[in-house]
Each structure stands twice: as C-alpha cells, then as structure tokens.
Symmetry: C2
Subunit: 651 residues, 2 copies
Amino acid sequence: MTKILPKLTGPQDLHDLSSDQLLQLATEIRERIIEVVGRNGGHLASNLGVVELTMALHHVFDFKHDRLLWDVGHQAYVHKLLTGRNARFDTLRKDGGISGFPNIEESEYDLFNVGHAGTAIPTAVGMARGASLMGEDRRVVAVVGDASIFNGVAFEGLNQAGTLKRQLLVVLNDNSMGIAPTQGGMAEYLAKFRVSTVYEDLKRGVKKYLPQVPVIGMPAFNALDHLKEGLKAAVSPHQIFEQLGFVYVGPIDGHDLGHLIELLQLLKDVDHPVLLHVHTQKGKGAEWALAEPTKFHSPKPFKVEGCRVEIQKSGTSYTAAFADALIRLAQEDHRIFALTAAMPDGTGLNRFQEVLPERFLDVGIAESATVDIAAGMCKAGLRPVVAIYSTFLQRAFDQVFQEVVLQGLPVIFCLDRAGLVGGDGPVHHGFADITYMRVMPNMAVMAPGDEPEIEAALRLALTLDVPSAIRYPRDTVPAPLYGVAPVPPYELGRSVTLREGADATILAYGSTCRHALDAAHALSADGIEVRVVNARFAKPVDREMVASALNRGGPVFTVEDHSVAGGFGSAVLEAARDLGLRADQVIALGIPEDCFIPHGARAGQLARVGIDAASIAVAVRGALGHPSAVVARAALERHRDLAYVPTADET
Amino acid sequence: MTKILPKLTGPQDLHDLSSDQLLQLATEIRERIIEVVGRNGGHLASNLGVVELTMALHHVFDFKHDRLLWDVGHQAYVHKLLTGRNARFDTLRKDGGISGFPNIEESEYDLFNVGHAGTAIPTAVGMARGASLMGEDRRVVAVVGDASIFNGVAFEGLNQAGTLKRQLLVVLNDNSMGIAPTQGGMAEYLAKFRVSTVYEDLKRGVKKYLPQVPVIGMPAFNALDHLKEGLKAAVSPHQIFEQLGFVYVGPIDGHDLGHLIELLQLLKDVDHPVLLHVHTQKGKGAEWALAEPTKFHSPKPFKVEGCRVEIQKSGTSYTAAFADALIRLAQEDHRIFALTAAMPDGTGLNRFQEVLPERFLDVGIAESATVDIAAGMCKAGLRPVVAIYSTFLQRAFDQVFQEVVLQGLPVIFCLDRAGLVGGDGPVHHGFADITYMRVMPNMAVMAPGDEPEIEAALRLALTLDVPSAIRYPRDTVPAPLYGVAPVPPYELGRSVTLREGADATILAYGSTCRHALDAAHALSADGIEVRVVNARFAKPVDREMVASALNRGGPVFTVEDHSVAGGFGSAVLEAARDLGLRADQVIALGIPEDCFIPHGARAGQLARVGIDAASIAVAVRGALGHPSAVVARAALERHRDLAYVPTADET
C-alpha cells in the first residue's frame, strides 16, 4: 500500500482523500509519531489522542486564513505533520530541528509559541476581537484539554469569551487526564458525566416525553423551556459553559473522524461562541500507551518490541534526588506537606505520594492556587514544600509575593527545571527565577550544587522563619562536589570554597559548581590555578565571599544557569557596590539577557551560553591573556551573540 | 441615646446586645466609617455594604479560634471596628495608624495581609486542610465579592475547595460590582438571576409539584432527583457551585441581620463546603454612595453637607496625564486599543472609554487574561495598550512572558501605581516591576519623568517592534523637567541630561527625576554642582550614560522609586561590568530590598527610603564629605534601617 503521509503537501490535500484513505492516514500519523518519539523522546500519549480531531479541524477549516490555537501545545505533532513538516519530523526536539511545541518561526500555521497551560482561550478571544476590529472575516478555533480548561487564566478567558458577539469555537479535548489525572471539583463532575452513557438517549427522550411534563403554573416560570434545560443539566456538564455564554455541543467521540468532520462543518459558521466537547483517549492506537498514559505522556526515547516497551534509562536526576531527600526529611519532620501543580511525576513527588499519601496534594494545573493553599497550610502550622517547575512558578509570582512573602510565611519552594531544559526549549527554560525570587523581601534564594546538597539545603530551609526557594536543573546529578567528605551544612548566606587558586576566582551558583570545578581541573593542567566557590545563596548573597573575591585581585567570574539580567551575578554586583568595592574585574557567565535559547540537547545549550566546563575554561584563559586568549575571546563572543535561531529553513 | 460602638471591647460583646441595639450598632458603624473615610480617604462603598454581614459573622463564629479570611480586604473596616480597633480608627491609612486592609501586625483577627483579589478561597482551603491535618477543630470562613470570585485564582481555589471533606463556608458577597461593574459571562448570568424574584417561590413549587412529574423511563436516569436539580438549575446560579462540589445556599438579603444570624447558625457546622450567596448593596446607608458606588469606592477625603458631597480635589495625576495622552494618540493611530482589568477609573481609562468606547475593554479582575487578550489583539494587527497597576501586573508575569515577550509582540504595558503608593501600603506598592520586566528578553523598560514625557514615551512605544513597559507613580505630575522647552523625543536606550555639574552625578529614573533636580538646585546654593540625568530606560539602559557617569569621577547616585534588588540601579551596575568599568563610587537610592514600607503619606514614604529631594541632597552631601556629612550619613543609615513597623502598639 502506498504511504499517504510522505506525499501530503499541506492540509488542503485532505480534501482529495477518500474516507478510507483518511483512516489510513490516521494510522500512518500514529506510526510516524511513535517512531520519532521512540527515537527522540517527546510528548506521546497526548498526540496519539488527537489524531482524528486534528485531521477533522484541518479538513474543515483553512488555517492559513482562519486561526487555530493549541493550548499548552504539546499535542501539536499531528498538526505539524499535516502542515508540511513530516519530512523534517525526524529532527523533533533536536538541535536546529522541529520544536516540540507550536513555533512561530517554523510555520505560518503556528500562531503562538506556547508551552504553559490555559492560555489558548484568552488568546483566541483577543484574536477574534482583533480580527473583527480589523474588519477581517477570520474564524478562530482554540483546542484545550480538560485539565487546562479549568486553569485560572483559561477560566478568565472563558468568562470573557462568553460575551463575544461573533464566531469562536473552543474544542474541549476531554481525555480525563492532564499530564496526571485531572484534579479538582470540576474534574470529579466531568468524571461522573463520563461514566454516564445516557446522554444521547436522553436527548431523544426529552423530545419524546417533554409534552407530558406538567406546567408548574407559576407566572414567572416557563416550565417547558426550563425543564428542557433542566433535563440536560441533570446529566451533562454543559451548564457551566452555557452560564458563561457558550452554546454547548457534545460530548462526542473524538476518534470518529467522519462524525467530527460533519459536526465541525455544522459548527463552522455559528455566529456565537461554541464549546464542542470531544472525548478522546490519551494514547489511542498504542495499547501500552493507552494503558499507562502518564508514563507515556512525555517519555525519554523508547523501544517497542511486540507488546514490551522499554524506556531509556538515565542516571539519578536532581528531581529524583529531591524526592528522596524530601521523603527522608518528612519521615523525621511531621510538619512537612508536599504540594505540586499537576506534576507528581515531573517533580518526583509521585514517590512521596506513594510513601506519605496523606501528606501530599496535587492541585492540578493551578500554580496560583497551589501557592495560596500552601500559604494557608503554613499559617495553620505545617511546613509546606511546593515543588513546581521554575517556568511554571511564573504563574504564581503574585501569590508568592502576597500570600507568602508579605506574611513572612516559611513556605519552601522547590524549583525543578531551573535553567536550560533541553528539548522543551524556550517555553520551558527556567531563566528568570533567581531574578523574580530575589526581588521578594526576606526570601532565601539558594541552589544546591550536587545531590547531597539538596538535602542540606532543604534542612536549612526547614529551620528558617522566612520563605525560601531552592532551584535545580533538569539534569542528572553530577559527581559529588566534596568527594567522599560530608557536605558542610547550609548556613543562611554562607558560601563554601570548593577549591583554592590564586589566578582567578569563580563564584558558581547551583549546578554550575561542577562545571566550574571541572574547568578548574582542566586549567590546572596548564598551570592556571582557579579558586572555585560554591555560592549557595543568591539572597542573602555571601558578602564575605564577594569581598574576598574582589579584594584578592585577578578576574572574578560569576556563573549561573540563568539570565544575567538581575540574577546571581547582579546580586554579587549589588553586594560589591554596597561594600564600596570595585567590580570591573567581574565577568558574568549566564544566559544573555535578550535571547531565547532554542530547543536541543541541554549539554549543547550550556555550551552555547558558555557555562559548561569547556566554555568556563575558555573564558578564564581569555581573561588571563593566556596564549589561547584570542581564540578564547572569539569563542566567547560567539556565545554572547545569540538570538532565536530560525529553524524553518534548516534541514 | 448612649453610643454602643465606643464601648464595644470585642466581637463577644455582640451577644449582649438586643436586636434593636444591634441595629443601632449597625447605624453607628456606618456613621463612623463615613466620618473617618471622609477625613482620611479610603474604601467607602464596599464597607457600607457589609455592615450586617460582618456583624452576623462575628455574632455566630468565634474568630479567635475559627478563621475568617477577607478577599481583597478593602471591605474589612467593619471587621476592624468590631475587633477592638474603633478607638484607633481615626488613624486609618495614616502614618503609624490603622491599615486600610487586614494586617497581621494589627490584630489576631487579621490572618493575612491582603489587597489583591481572589486569594481568600485558596488560602481558606489551605487553612482548612491545615487545621484538619493539625487535628484542630477550626471552622474556616472566606468572604469573597462577586467580581473576585471568578478571578482565575479564586476559581482554581473553588475547584479545589469542592473536594474538601470538611467544613468550609464561602460567603459570596454579591453587589454586582467590583470596583467597577463586574465584567464577563458569569456576571451577565448572575445579573439575569438577580432580576428574577421567583427562586423562593419556585423552591416551594418544586416540592409541591415534583410528584406529578412523570418518570421518563430510562434505566440510568433517576428522574425525580435529576428533575429536582434541573428545576433549580433553570433559574439559579447554583449549578456552577454545585458542580464544583459545594452545597449552595441563597441568595439571601445581606442587610437583614436577623435572618443572616439565623442562617449562619444553621450553616456553621455543616461538615461540607458551603457557598452562601448574599445580596448586598455597595454604599448601603448613604444615598449618595449608593447612587454612585464607583465614585465612592475609594474616594479622596470628602465633605458631606446635606445631600451634597464634595470630594477633595488634587492636581493633575500621572494617571490623568496618561489617559489624556493615550486619547490624543488614539485619535491619530487607529490601531490603538486600550485594555484594563477592573480599573477603568483607577487607570484613567474611563476617560478613554467615554471618547472611544469601541476601542476599550475592561476584562474584569483578570489581569492574566487581560494580557493574553491583548496578545491576541496584537497578533491580529492592533496596538494594544494594557493599563494595570504595577502590583496587579504581578498577576500576569507569566502571560507577559509567554504570550507577549516570547512572541515578540509589541504590546505596551502602562504600569500605574509604580513605586510607593501611600495609604494603601505594602499590599499595593509597585516595588518590583523594573526587576520583573527587565528579565524579559527584548522588553523596553522605561519611565517618564513628567507629564509631557508620558506622551513621548508612548509615542516611542508605538513605533517599536518589541514589547514595552512604561511606569509612573500614584502621584501628581511634577513641574516640567524641561521648563518651557519642548520634550526631547524618546529614543530607545537613550537618556537625557537635565543639568550639568562636576561634583557628582545623579542617574534618576522616572518620577525621581524631579526630586533629583530639586536636590541639585538646593545643593547648588551650597556650591555643590550635580549633574542630573533622566535615564528614561532601565532596559536597554543607556551605556553611554553609564560610561560617562563612571568615567568622570565623583560619586554616582542611581535613584529609583523601586526595590534596589535587580532594579534600575542594578541595570547600571550590569552595564558597568560589561563595559569593564569600576562602579565602587555608585550609591543606590531606592527601596531597601528586605523591607515593607508601611502605609502612610506617599511623601513620607519617599523620605523614609531616601528618594525625595531632601534625602537625595543629604546623600550627596554625605558622599562628598561636606561639613554636614556626619549628620547626612546618620540620616541615610536611618533610612536604610527600615523594617515593617508594627502599628499595634502605637496610638
């Protein structure tokens, strides 16, 4: 049988396919996704679930003119395959390759670079209003999952959407899962509805039996109309959407392509906000993914052999090390309570949940509420530990400020995925947390440099009467910084010198300590001796460390896996200023402030911004005017000259 | 008649009062609030609306043991009067006086320092779960307005609350108003319901007629139960809350004290989340406030003479100057579209709305969605201008990043109330926006120094292909920086020297330019000549300005109405480092990083942190070792040694 997918030039080709060919294409798309994600890693189960839905949308709408917005965007692989990106799909998430999320540089069909949940609806409202104001007749469609749709900003968007006096189609892709099973009251409500099979029958029943319902006889009450609504209300989740001003349609089977196309044709030109409720199965088309959709949400590369699937293993991650440390501490300290926002697996807290289920809460994709709930718990006497990715805690900036910092509550924030994240790219880099946490009064901002330091940092945080933030990257833990020696306990605002050396000083923050040490070892072979300090704190920054580094002469490097705007390096400069010390010998290594580092391998990203061991060594040589200085400088300048690299023209 | 309020020692005294005395107390409380707010300014209409509700809550619950959480908190004056703060209430919002919001330093009855909307429910969920986990039998009550309850984080909290297996009472204080009339689909739905008067009758009707409704005869469908639900659903706003897992009760009259007490007694021990829907009138008890609740939401001091009320006038505010400038520009440039989040009056955009209603949108208390809607509009070709207070834009940090910055969309953010805000205090200070905007790649971060500069900055922003942020304080505009000369146009990353002088340099940002100029004039009388530069940009910071200041010798001051952690001063230091220039002669004047400046007059706050003209002059003299240096230093040290001043023990 000839393959269809490789010949597809764009969504317009869908119209030339027969029903059977469309079904064949759906199968080919699933095979292609399993093949590439198996090789490269990436988001699997969610994409397998939206094959028919995506095909139907592109069949019915012309998204060169109309607007399609994906919420979160990790389910856009099918969309990518249909919009001319099949040939390059092998490069998914690789350096210079196809992004794992919608990407405006990649295709005119991608309108927003996304990655965080809940934004498609408000953005769609803006695009719809914008199109109307510009006098353009564009339809707008937003696809949102059932976990995202009750996220705060999505709900705010729904609340606005209902007041639109024009077309807007919101497709609720309901698979009863976010990344983990969906949480909260609405999720329970939807779940109740899902187990009911009576809706379609009921609709017919209402039509048939409605005339028999007696008029209740109160003047202001139109019994027929209201009872009809009432009947639907009793078994359907439509009310909330109708209350918000939407026409609610569904739920329908999201894997019945013909029916989807038919229904979308009908809804296409409805001149009013419509919510189409579609049931899909996360992992559809692969039994093993269907059976364990959380495991196959975003797996590392895997091999399928018959019905056995083996996912690539890697070393101990910072994430796992954090989870293990927190479990140990929680067994000693009964005040500890762990919270996450829809990321029990991603934060490692699924392990905590197994061991201490009564002291764990997954609030769902609701970072803002998670922080507020933690604040309330802290006020009640517990010691909440909130584990959220650095990039997602941006959602709770104001809650961290008002409910935690302003009250002086010692909530502990554990920021996973802090720094460059590899394949997920710019939508997920944790590039800003040092800056946004450092501006919070009295917050202790720290970063462990290796596995044992995670527990040491947590131990200190548990003794503080101020809030604290502990950051660590999406990476495996490095060789221990202290070798076989015990880790010096964390003391608030105190650094630890890892290595002495008279030629230069490196003040390293968090995971860059290992790179700095490795650079120092390499330089030592050339007779360059570098002092390496594990700064541990960005706030309060160790002023003795700063004074000592600046007073001894020689270049001083600040190294951080973070933007250089307002980060650890700036804390060092502020301390120098307050101490009245000159700091013109300071060189900052970190993410340049005005660029977005593209997706790819994390190791390559670290090299690119100049914070891996080799780049740090180059920078030191350069600053010392070593024979290799010119080469070194050139290399460094290249690192600095970063911009968002367009990937569309690359192969 | 003897007054009751002055003798009230605490909420427990309410039990000793007869029904008539309780009504008298309600009247006294309203008189007291009108008297003090008339003198001091403050939140009026919202407090007049919750007199009976607050009395009933304190009558039924013992909030020394139980927990009461106010959403936003601007409606907590009655609560303050009932909890022993009547005698000090004259000091409302004054230096060292009673805060205009709940304040944990003030009373054991205040559990959280609040001021931003939507947080009471998630915080209450945390406190409820916390109390249960600590084995404490505490009831938890959250009072939330109808504008706040559909804010994103409030909704996230509702979604979690529904899953609680214990007591939690959420009181929905529904006055159909936030600060402005409530916006969005839910608001329209509640409004429809408000005009209906059939609910109570209907409930009786359902009970009476239900047996007559035929069973529809489908096996999975329990007609009786569902029809009963359906009937209620058809005319009540309860569904959304019941879907979220709450028992819904109401709506009831929030000014019928007896009924409120009776109902709260019934609900007090319900072992399940309950939502009590209460109708109140904003401004109840004062005809003029009832008639214009937006005008009397948070008025300046006013005088009541019969039925005439005169509100104190003040000079042109930055807010008004912004609104006027934007209207002028919008009349030239049809791409401009203005958005606000529930603050049409506070941001001055009510004027814009009057002139260009079709190019204005109030999204309600939903800063996150406001930014996303703006992003969508910008993508559609408009030039959205988003006016939000600095402190509230914290709610949209992630949306600014993902939907705007990551897309490179030239949305213009106008941050009102940037810097110290006077009477509203720490919950409203805009102390962090320079830092959190500066970490955003490619964002232009600027601040006008006087009225004409607002238009000049907006003009530049409209030409940029990157997003921009323009900040200005809650203050009257100063005397023009350039006298009668025209304002030099804004150029990206270029400062303007306002005054030459060889002894010292002041790099002033935004509204501090005037203070710096005034300081320079005062110093000039003593023969000290200071160069004053209007920096205009915190990002990109003017590197020539930095180099010139640092190379010419003499002390260099950076002055900003903002935290010194990561702000404008840090941008100067970063530039110096990147230029390889020593910056040990730099002295940063701004808000110290680890303190909260208490409420009071803005002028006093500026003096306290050392950024008014007098303090700047003191700092310059000190740095130059002028004869007054010792005195100056001491004064400066005092300024630096700031902390959250407890007000509970002051008189």
